[in-house]
Amino acid sequence: MSQRRVVVTGLGATTPLGGDVASTWAALIAGKSGVRLLTEDWRELLPVHFAARVAIEPADQMERVEMRRLDRSEQFALVASREAWKDAGAPDVDKERLGVVIASGIGGVITLLDQFDNLKEKGARGVSPHTVPMLMPNGPAANVGLELQARAGVHTPVSACASGAEAIGYALEMIRTNRADIIVSGGVEAAIHQLPMAGFAAMKALSTRNDAPERASRPYDADRDGFVLGEGGGVLVLEEYEHAKARGAKIYCELVGQGLSSDGYHIAAPDPDGSGVRRAIKFALANANLSTKDIVHLNAHATSTPAGDVAEANALRLALGKDADHVAVSATKSMTGHLLGGAGAIESVFIVKALQERLAPPTINIENLDPAVTIDVVRDTARSLPSGQIAALNDSFGFGGHNVVLAFATL
């Protein structure tokens, strides 16, 4: 029996650029930044005064009563999943063949910290009975699974900033191995709070360009000084190809493969050798039955950190060889900031849109390209992609040395 094929039939997102996929994509192609100064007083406690908050607050997208028992990450998951499910046609499917795989890098950290404040102020009686369901990292997936009554399995892979991509890869395997026919998959993050920000700042991972927040996220620029924390999430409805055809679904493209590896090098720093990334790309291409010649576009992890961007660019050049010359590389975190566990998911949404529209998003804020970067970066304005059958890669890496590469192709 030939392998079950997996296609994308629905998209949803809530990001610093827009409250849905259409508005996010329009802002992305226009090269807009979603990074803003924070308005909270606590920003003064930190060396970083800005972040990329979602463009549309969940309060404007869901009922207040529903919101109060959901962590912000769970709110993002429901907003993006509802859009994706509707986009897929809200199909009436066998619930035992419907799954949910939605990741988060950190989980309900804002709930955890808020409830600790309640505990200190009011005692144990002041702690909400919703605390645990709100802070558990599987909460976003669980809430979406409940809403859709998914019964094939609800899962939450956690691998820091690779989590969103790993979730989509996990869903791919669930469908391939016949555990499900349709899966709502993606990643979310809601960690714009003084504690996680102070932690990232203590690692010197965050940009401190306080005088120009919109210019702070600048992957591949010679003067990049760290990433910008973002929030939000992205969701894809993945579906077995024959199942999608049988119900007359709109099909965006095919998720053709994934490649996974780990560095075994350092808890947070990228392996400068990039061999883990190279292996993940090689595995993804083999898993997708593609060659480097087929790849025309790549959405890079490129977070705007001094070490990470160059390590990744070198790994891409080595993995793709001469074929890297025809791969249009976009670093969309220049506009969205870094959504941590949501990053691989919204960037997969961007790849799907890029294949549909035949358009690679721009990378903004590159004033002087780092001379160590020898890949073809799409700078300043969006670039057309070739006609015919094309394929694209999305790579994501996480603290801990996790490497995940997803491969998408037009049908």
């Binding site: 009922e63 207040r64 009563v65 529903e66 109060r68 028992r69 009686r125 002041g126 909400s128 009975p129 919703h130 369901p133």
Partner: protein, 82 residues
Amino acid sequence: MALSAADVLAGIKEIVEEVAGIPAASIELDKNFTDDLEVDSLSMVEVVVACEERFGVKIPDEKVTDLATVGDAVNFIVNAAA
């Protein structure tokens, strides 16, 4: 301080609407929290804690299971505050 049953009912209506999103107009003395108002076990904990704060009474955990209807809660709170 004595509380009137009408004041307690009005307060409970506000709390249940806030916690569970049930319109205050549909909350009456004979309504069962679970069966009629669909207040789940976690939200019931919130209702109890909010009532304690608002009316200055203690509602022991072992009493909560006895408070099946809005009327049960009103009676308990009025007696506890008397």
